[in-house]
């Protein structure tokens, strides 16, 4: 027995068990997220339940669980039709159900507002359209939807023009504000000239807006009427229908196509319905851009600081204290960094920028408010210790002989650093960057006070001069999870989206670190010593 202990057999088991436990927990997390996230977009069959008292309930079955009393089951239906019932979900006692079936003609509508509609198509009312092609009502509806979509695109173009004009008017307004701030009297020629341009623009703008309004009103005349399961009629403008599909009448490949189109919307579309529906493109874009900007700031800063610490600073008590301090910086709670970012970057630096360059716009802040620049700088500050520690250790791990070999050939310290040491340390530096990126991607708390928003009107990078708008607020997947999961008015309906967003965030971190790890391995192969 003693021999058994001495050989260390139990220790092997203990270490193995510890590793297994961590792996199982990580795997469980991923699996839960995947199972819940991946299935969200697969069209679920619509089930109709008939009760003894003649009432009916129709919708997607979400889950089935035993009653608290222990007798029988209950089923949770997603009945949708919030505008009719007030609630999206409904618990139903199985005891009262006579029959469950899947009516083939049941239609599911995804709408611009009020969530999904479950029911049956009743009639189409398109006054100014020719008799739509198609024999069945369903075919007619899809034909109508196509022509509506075409008109919507035209309206979209109009909207873009309106937005362009409104931007120009905003510019003029700022110009005027600046002139007034600089002390031009209202009757001076410069002010008058701007005012004249303003009024001209205003005319264009008003006509365009009026036309846009007309077109929209016309379009909304095209309507379709649906009946819910108990026969209540509901008329919807066809323009409000995002998707109409018949899940009980779809083959698996039709479902697959549907799934792909939902994925496309997820990656490229804008969010709808208080972010619980639609796409995540702005959030994905914001997250990636934030991490990218953060790396851009923290990577050079950290590497250069570490080089000084390791190569130039004289080893001594001060350097030791600095090293400990840097290590401890990595442990400061992120919200503290957020508050620092708010105080220093936003109010301090941003406020000064505003006073210096945009005094005429005050008190409306330009840079003195949260934005992607300040958020990424705050995150950079948060992650820079990680980069410093990794770089410092990587440089310290390089054999002394290589350093001496280079110096003995007449290289300066700088040449040795740039040609030999930094390349050799690069795998270690990359490891630091990977850790920094992973940490930055997961941070939400500091972002909430430095510029993340629930819904950003514009991306921080677009086609309008100067293309990169670092002062803009942005969306972020991590914040999105928090927002729709815990701040949404309709938490139950938002749940699938929470899983999808989580999956996406994990995926983005995974992709970014895989790329970095691939790069690191390449460097490792090139720069590491074998044994000799």
């Amino acid at each position: 027995m003693q021999k058994y202990w001495r050989r260390g057999e139990p220790f092997v088991w203990l270490t193995g068990a510890a590793l297994t436990l961590t792996l199982v927990m990580a795997a469980a997390l991923i699996i839960v997220v995947m199972v819940n996230g991946l299935g969200v977009f697969w069209p679920t069959e619509v089930t109709q339940a008939k009760f003894q008292d003649g009432t009916r309930v129709m919708g997607e079955i979400i889950k089935r669980e035993p009653l608290p009393s222990g007798e029988g089951d209950r089923i949770q239906f997603k009945t949708g039709n919030r505008d009719l019932y007030g609630l999206d979900f409904r618990w139903v006692d199985t005891a009262g159900i006579i029959e469950l079936d899947h009516p083939v003609e049941a239609v599911v509508l995804e709408r611009e507002e009020y969530g999904n509609f479950y029911g049956f198509l009743h009639e189409i009312n398109a006054p100014d359209l020719d008799q739509p092609a198609g024999e069945t009502l369903g075919e007619q509806l899809s034909a109508v939807r196509q022509s509506v979509e075409k008109r919507q695109q035209e309206i979209g173009q109009l909207e873009e023009r309106v937005a362009g004009l409104s931007d120009r008017m905003q510019d003029l307004r700022l110009e005027l504000q600046k002139l007034e701030f600089e002390g031009y009297p209202p009757e001076s020629s410069a002010v008058k000239e701007v005012r004249q341009r303003q009024s001209l623009l205003r005319e264009d703008f008003d006509t365009l807006v009026a036309r846009h309004e007309d077109r929209r009103r016309e379009l909304r005349q095209i309507q379709a009427t649906f009946a819910d399961v108990s026969g209540t009629l509901k008329t919807v403008a066809v323009a409000d229908i995002v998707r109409a599909y018949y899940p009980n009448d779809m083959a698996w490949w039709e479902k697959a196509v549907f799934y792909l189109s939902k994925l496309k919307e997820l990656f490229l579309g804008e969010p709808r319905e208080a972010n619980t529906e639609g796409g995540l493109f702005p959030a994905i874009f914001g997250t990636v851009m934030l991490i990218f900007l953060m790396s851009l700031f923290s990577f050079p800063l950290g590497v250069i600081a570490a080089i000084y610490l390791r190569e130039y600073a004289k080893e001594g008590p001060i350097v030791r204290v600095v090293r400990i301090a840097v290590n401890n910086l990595a442990g400061i709670p992120s919200i503290v960094y957020g508050i620092f970012g708010l105080g220093f970057f936003i109010y301090g630096v941003g406020g000064s920028l505003d006073r210096l360059f945009f005094p005429e716009r005050l008190p409306t802040p330009t840079f003195g408010t949260g934005g992607i620049l300040w958020a990424s700088l705050t995150l950079a500050l948060l992650t820079v210790p990680v980069v410093i520690v990794a770089t410092d250790e990587a440089l310290g791990a390089i054999p002394k002989g290589v350093r001496e070999g280079s110096l003995a050939l007449g290289a300066t310290k700088f040449q040795t650093l740039s040609r030999i040491l930094v390349p050799m340390a690069s795998p270690g530096i990359m490891t630091g960057l990977i850790l920094a990126m992973a940490r930055a991607a997961g941070e939400v708390a500091p972002l909430m006070i430095t510029g993340v928003v629930k819904l950003a009107p514009a991306l921080p990078l677009d086609g309008d001069f100067p293309f990169l708008h670092l002062d803009r607020k942005f969306m972020h997947l991590g914040f999105h999870i928090y927002d729709i999961g815990f701040q949404s008015p309709n938490v139950e309906a938002a749940k699938p989206m929470v899983f999808v967003t989580t999956l996406l965030l994990v995926l983005i971190v995974l992709i970014m670190s895989s790329v970095a790890i691939h790069l690191r391995n390449k460097m490792k192969k090139r720069y590491t010593y074998g044994t000799f």
């Binding site: 004289k314 080893e315 054999p399 002989g401 290589v402 001496e404 070999g405 280079s406 110096l407 003995a408 050939l409 007449g410 290289a411 300066t412 040449q415 040609r419 030999i420 390349p423 050799m424 090139r526 720069y527 590491t528 010593y529 074998g530 000799f532």
Partner: protein, 261 residues
């Protein structure tokens, strides 16, 4: 003993060392060393571990500068130029005095880039010139035939002996006046050691070589002159034959015959 030992190097010396003292903080490592090194000869520095021979070697190209607590007194002249003076460009000095280390330390670059490293940092850009110097250095280091077909491969793929010869080639490529070797064979197997010794004999024709070694036979085989260091003192310095066959000093004799050290 402290006087300029014997007549070696009195005519046309490459390096003249006058009264050199070296301290690590408060501990003295070298006492009043004075010796001259003869041009185009191989001088072996022998002595037990910790006797200061490596420290002395590193004084010759100021590699000890990197140690913050090191302090040097005395004078060293390279071809008449004072080494320990603020006016001297250390970079230039190290180009004139090359060094090969105990443990081979190729850079994680290609074989070609390793050899021309010294030239590149000196600002040579001409590809043809670099290639020519590379070939010359590798031929001098008797490595050319083994690596000529894989100059672009990583130097880290070479064997231990090849790596050490690559380091010698790297030192030769900048055309130094003196090559310092700090126990260049201590990490090599006998066969590679023989190759490097052969190489040292060939290099003698063009370079002044100062080699630190723990291996008596090696010192006897490759060197013209031998200096015996003991506890920071230069005990004996003379022609290798004399030092090994008829040492004047009792300590030298004891060391050479293996009674201590």
């Amino acid at each position: 003993m402290t006087a300029k030992t014997m007549e070696i190097g009195s005519s046309d010396p490459v390096i003249e060392v006058d009264d050199l003292n070296f301290h690590y903080g408060s501990a003295a490592a070298l006492h009043n060393i004075s010796m001259n090194f003869t041009r185009k000869k191989v001088t072996a520095l022998i002595g037990p571990s910790g006797c200061g021979k490596s420290t002395f070697l590193r004084c010759l190209n100021r590699m000890n500068d990197m140690i913050d607590i090191a302090r040097v007194e005395g004078r060293i002249r390279l071809n008449g130029d004072e080494i320990y003076t603020p006016k001297l460009d250390v970079i230039e000095l190290r180009r004139r005095v090359g060094m090969v280390f105990q443990k081979s330390n190729p850079f994680p670059k290609s074989i070609f880039e390793n050899v021309v490293y010294g030239l590149r940092i000196a600002g040579v850009r001409n590809r043809a010139q670099l290639a020519e110097s590379c070939e010359k250095a590798l031929r001098s280091a008797a490595l050319w035939d083994e690596v000529k077909d894989r100059l672009e491969d990583s130097a880290l793929g070479l064997s231990g002996g090849q790596m050490q010869r690559l380091c010698i080639a790297r030192a030769i490529a900048v055309n130094p006046e003196v090559i310092l070797m700090d126990e260049p064979c201590s990490a090599l197997d006998p066969k590679s050691t023989a190759r490097v010794e052969e190489l040292i004999s060939e290099l003698r024709e063009n370079y002044t070589i100062i080699i630190v070694t723990h291996n008596m036979q090696q010192a006897a085989r490759v060197s013209d002159h031998t200096a015996f260091f003991f506890e920071g003192l230069l005990v004996e310095y003379g022609l290798t034959n004399q030092v090994f066959i008829k040492p004047k000093n009792k300590q030298t004799e004891d060391y050479i015959t293996g009674r201590f050290g």
